[in-house]
Symmetry: C2
Subunit: 215 residues, 2 copies
Amino acid sequence: MTPGVREHMQEDSRADILSAAATCFMERGYSETSIDGVAHALGATKGRIYHHFRSKADLFAGVFRAGMDMNYAAIAPYRALPGRAAVRWRRMAFAHVVQMIDTKPFQRTVWMGVEMHLRGATTPEQRSVFAELIRYRTDYGNIFREVIVKAREEGDFDFTDVSITNQLMFMTLNSPIFWYAPRVGETRADIEILADRVVTCAWRGLGGKEERNRQ
Amino acid sequence: MTPGVREHMQEDSRADILSAAATCFMERGYSETSIDGVAHALGATKGRIYHHFRSKADLFAGVFRAGMDMNYAAIAPYRALPGRAAVRWRRMAFAHVVQMIDTKPFQRTVWMGVEMHLRGATTPEQRSVFAELIRYRTDYGNIFREVIVKAREEGDFDFTDVSITNQLMFMTLNSPIFWYAPRVGETRADIEILADRVVTCAWRGLGGKEERNRQ
DNA sequence: TTGACAACATACTGGGTAGTATGTTCATCA
DNA sequence: TGATGAACATACTACCCAGTATGTTGTCAA
């Protein structure tokens, strides 16, 4: 077997662990999730996980980072769109909401990570790793922040306090991670309609003008 | 000492435990919170807590119920207001948001309780108690649901899907439990301005018309 | 003044789990 | 073809913590 393929297999194994861990973290929370539990979900044992991750916190950080990586990738195609910022915002917001639905276990883990960091539930040694992840996530938030400020300057949005507004906007855009559940026979189009409703709600909250071509 | 006073002292002791437990649950989450930790925060020991509550889950349920009790009490004065439903909604929503800020530790615990129930993180025996609390909370949500439906009928709100809209609305109204932090020198008026901004954002999300007398 | 009981504190036990130490297998490479 | 190391599995330990069992103190009622 070529070294390239071997390396790829290793990365696959890591990705499988991250995916299983994300699901476990979502379904049981951080401390209720045991390494044995994640291993069981994989049909493996602890050894496999501890071979790839130094600790439970390291595994958690891996899921967090993977989730944020996917978020950046999801909005990347729209960040540099020319034209009005409000239009750019709608594309980004829509991609973000769809992303929340598609990678819900990872996003729930990211959310938990932020909560844990805010209450300082990390050991000193992992503090720096965690702080970097939080910065990674804050930067992501600031991308949207800059866009809505620009859109306000261009007269398309209307709000007073930027910080609060950005918080409320993300609260709406992220909310599917809490209440979305796939319906039987649900198509891609159904999900997109759902996402559009969420985006429209956030759009209104930002003081965006009503558009005729949307329901 | 009169029996009345004794009983009152007991209730005081219970209330102190609930308050300390709410803070601990908020700061550390459910499983990271130890009974010893709550006792320590009270300057007491486990014995005191287990004298009033049968288990950790029972203590948690007590905090949950107390939080919801306070919520019902907060909106009670406005539920039967005559006039347009949209106006009634604004009063109720404002009272709700202020309540989220004032009793944040309890509300965070309620939130955690809902999450735990959704992922089934309860033992069978406590399942019925928990189910009743969830119903208590669902009923509270339905109060708002009925009001926004009425307001839509009266032409003041404009939205498509009631369930999603109610979810998104509560997401916005509840959000201060995640990002609110008291500022130095903050007055009651500052909090009310903050709450009004949140209510306005939710109002817009519901498709409410802009009002001139608000910023 | 003396039970009786409420309201705690103290001391102990058992189960679950993070982390570690040590095997085992198999592919690659010299 | 034997050495080497990656990629796991197995076995074990040490700790934390919920729950319990039992003591202690003060109050009230008779």
